[in-house]
Amino acid sequence: MATVGRAVGVAPRPGFIEYLWSWVTTVDHKRIGILYGLTTTAFLLVGGLEALLIRIQLAHPESKFLDPNTYNQIFTMHGLTMIFLVVMGYNATFFNLVVPLQLGARDVAFPRLNAFSYWVFLFGALLLNLGWLWGQAPGVGWFGYANLTSVEYTPDLGTDFYVMGLQVLGISSIASALNFLVTIINLRAPGMSMFKMPVFSWMTLVVSVLVITAFPPFTVGLIEVMFDRLFGTNFFNPAAGANPLLWQHLFWIFGHPEVYILVLPAMGIVSEVIPVFARKPLFGYPFVVFSGIFIGFLGWGVWAHHMFAVGLGPIANTVFGITTMLIAVPTGVKIFNWLATLWGGQIQVKTPLLFAALGFIAPFIIGGVTGVMHATVPSDYQQTDTYFVVAHFHYVIMPIVAAFFAGIYYWWPKYTGRLLDEGLGKLHFWLFFVGTNLTFGAQVVLGFLGMPRRNYTYPAGLGWEPWNLLSSIGAFLIALSVLVFIVNALKSLRSGEPAGPDPWDGRTLEWLTPSPVPVYNFAEIPVVRYRDELWARKYGPHGERAAAAARPNPDPNPGREEVHVHLPRPSYYPAVAALGIALGFFGGVMLRPAEVGGLGPLGWVLVGLGALITLAGLYGWAFEPAD
């Protein structure tokens, strides 16, 4: 050992601190994507643990495992975590990792704003969860219906963490959506017209528009609740003449587009994975794109289907029932086009395809059929707030999670340079698949048996016991599948098979770059002539070069060392500004009186400090040199 000398004459290896600092100051979309991915996976474990606690409590009737308030906090935080931190987090992960590469761009339009979005997301997520330290996490449901959210009925800090944490997360989502909107419109490679753009990027565009338009009404509602709680206004106080249903309208006109914000990127991933593993182009590309746009558009006209039982009257209920049924049409179009893509292909049954076809499409059909049952308004009068609803939306969201796993197995080699193990991947898939259907299949039955949701306990003798036990067993299978995935990921990082630039025989531009992707993405920006540009370069635009087995594996960066690409410099100002925002909103929570754990008027000190730090961050950012 002693004979091994120290390397001399090369640049000094950066220390651990410098390495960490490089992640704090990074403005590289790939590194930001990895930060999002790590944060989101951590919260997946948190939200999953919350799910397991729920299922332990409900495995048996009259369980004393959790007290009612703890249970209410856990089911609330499970929903908030999974929706705002996990699904939205993975969306941001994939937008960052994939979209610039698919477009043939070097980065997003505003790299520092992108870093800012991530740091606001991280700090907002922590703020939302901070209430656990007081034993007062939000406990009003992810929907936080007024007037339960008034200080009279929830005097604890939980609702304040809800109101403040979600405002912070909204800032992150909107900043990120603006960034991707501008990126997709302006930074596409030369020749990539909108209808040559990959479907995942298309869905990112639709989702960005939805985020920009859906979050403001929600933010308005949150600000109103904040004013009611902190400053004694009466937006939702029935005693002062308000109708608390106002909140439900504001919430669901955000909340239903939010459902499509969650699902459209997953549909985009499926639309990327299926053609590659069927070795055929996506069937009916314009129909898949337009049905995605149409779903986003219809998403605006269906919010009151969450409110069929609030007494809007038969005319409103009829209208919203029919618009909701219409959503089934473009959704069906997508499913049939995926089936037609598989039809007649050379299907390669690899883990990404399993997750996309059997993990997404198969259970999503159940989510769709049960969705139409909810659109049948009178049936919804019975089904609403039973486990039938819980089963329905988990049959939408678990397919979304499956699509994320499809995306992870598919794109992982691009960013790590190594493949994930196929054997562990298939084990992961089948555990996930069986676990999901056991958990939520049992909940379909519980729905018919009339078990209401958001109940911390239930009596014996109503026929619910066996189904609850099955559902809980399924939840542990899902947890096990996630553990298998983590083992797979660690194994791949240590000793995974090297992937090469194009391990799946891909079709889109990201597979043109080396794996892992160099910081500048493309040494030379590609010129696009075809929808499946890389495929056309390999096989000819109509596959005519296949017979000659002419498969050049294009390395776009011969002589990588000589590439000199101008890239924006790292900056810590976005992280500073983000920290200030979260601190200021935390000060807002602390404005609550000392009896409930706040600081009272002293909270203004924190608000002011947060504002100052934000301003300092923005000032430094604004006056940084452009390069």
Partner: protein, 331 residues
């Protein structure tokens, strides 16, 4: 699997919240519509899953380097077909849906039995306004109705949003504080006890805000109404008399009303007919004839229903026994 399981469970009398079993006209209309949609949904499910699994098995094959599958980009007529077929299926669902929405919006009887439902954290108040001119009956957690008669419930809340649901009789209607009064109608075909449950998350004890609807033969219902119009007698002696006095001395009367006594608290449930109700604690425990559950409840409500507004007063067994004897006499 799921449908078969529900079918099997449907035969069991042990699932009083199974809404696929109707015990009244309103629930029956919903049930018929739901069965139609379930059948169509099952057909769509089998067809599409079948296509998916067939495609995955049939076209699972090696990918020779020199041979690609036909690079098909689309087919317009197919697109039209799989757009229009779902539209037609939806029309088949939408027409009866709209018809049922409107049918459920108006009570089928011009002179229904009117009741008022008031949700409280975490119990139910039921009132029969002007059931005989000028007289109103107030009760709690148990709504008695005559078999066959249409009941029109006007629902409001005293605090936060709740939701009124008696699955065997009617779907959900939200219970909203403030000016909005929602209405829902239902009837019961047969005498019996039907389970009701708060469905909208309303705070700590949302899970245990239950009630019963008791359908009685009309003559029996009329006798019950007449009995309710006369307050129960104040016990003159014995343990029940002791309980009557303790009810005032210990402060129970600050929250509870008992008709025909000075006890007129309005915060908690009216207890005038607690002796005949089938449950204790808003559907929590059976109101057994010996009063054991009632005694457990009065002794320590916070242990049975943590967070309930009724405090655990630390009463002695003798005090509890006396109060139970008094309350059990209230029929």
């Amino acid at each position: 699997m799921a449908a078969a399981a529900v079918g099997a469970a449907g035969c069991s009398p042990a699932d009083p919240l199974n809404w696929l079993i109707a015990s009244g006209d309103a629930a029956e209309q919903v049930r018929q519509l739901t069965v139609l949609v379930m059948v169509l949904g099952a057909l769509v499910f089998v067809a599409v899953e079948g296509l998916l699994i067939y495609a995955l098995l049939r076209f699972r094959r090696p990918a020779p380097a020199d041979q690609l599958p036909p690079q098909v980009h689309g087919h317009t007529r197919l697109e039209v077909a799989w757009t229009m077929v779902p539209v037609l299926i939806l029309v088949v669902i939408a027409v009866p849906t709209v018809r049922t929405v409107f049918a459920l919006a108006t009570p089928p009887d011009a002179n229904p039995l009117r009741v008022e439902v008031i949700g409280h954290q975490w119990w139910w108040e039921f009132r029969y306004p002007d059931i005989v001119p000028g007289k109103t009956i107030t009760t709690a957690n148990e709504l008695r109705i005559p078999v066959g008669r249409t009941v029109l419930a006007s629902v409001t809340s005293a605090d936060v949003i709740h939701s009124f649901w008696v699955p065997r009789l009617t779907g959900t209607i939200d219970v909203i504080p403030g000016k909005q009064v929602n209405r829902v109608w239902f009837n019961a075909w047969e005498p019996g006890e039907y389970y009701g449950w708060c469905k909208e998350f309303c705070g700590t004890q949302h899970a245990q805000m239950r009630f019963r609807v008791v359908a009685m033969p009309p003559a029996e219902f009329d006798r019950w109404v007449q009995a309710r119009l006369t307050p129960p007698a104040v016990p003159a002696s014995g343990q029940a008399r002791q309980g009557y006095e303790l009810f005032g001395q210990l402060g129970c009367s600050a929250c509870h009303t008992i008709d025909g006594t000075p006890y007129q608290g309005k915060v908690g449930p009216n207890l005038t007919n607690i002796g005949e109700r089938s449950t204790v604690g808003a559907g929590l425990l059976p109101n057994d004839p010996d009063g054991q559950n009632l005694a457990r409840w009065i002794k320590d409500p916070q242990a049975l229903k943590p967070g309930v507004k009724m405090p655990t007063l630390g009463l002695s067994d003798a005090q509890v026994g006396a109060i139970v004897a008094y309350l059990k006499s209230l029929k």
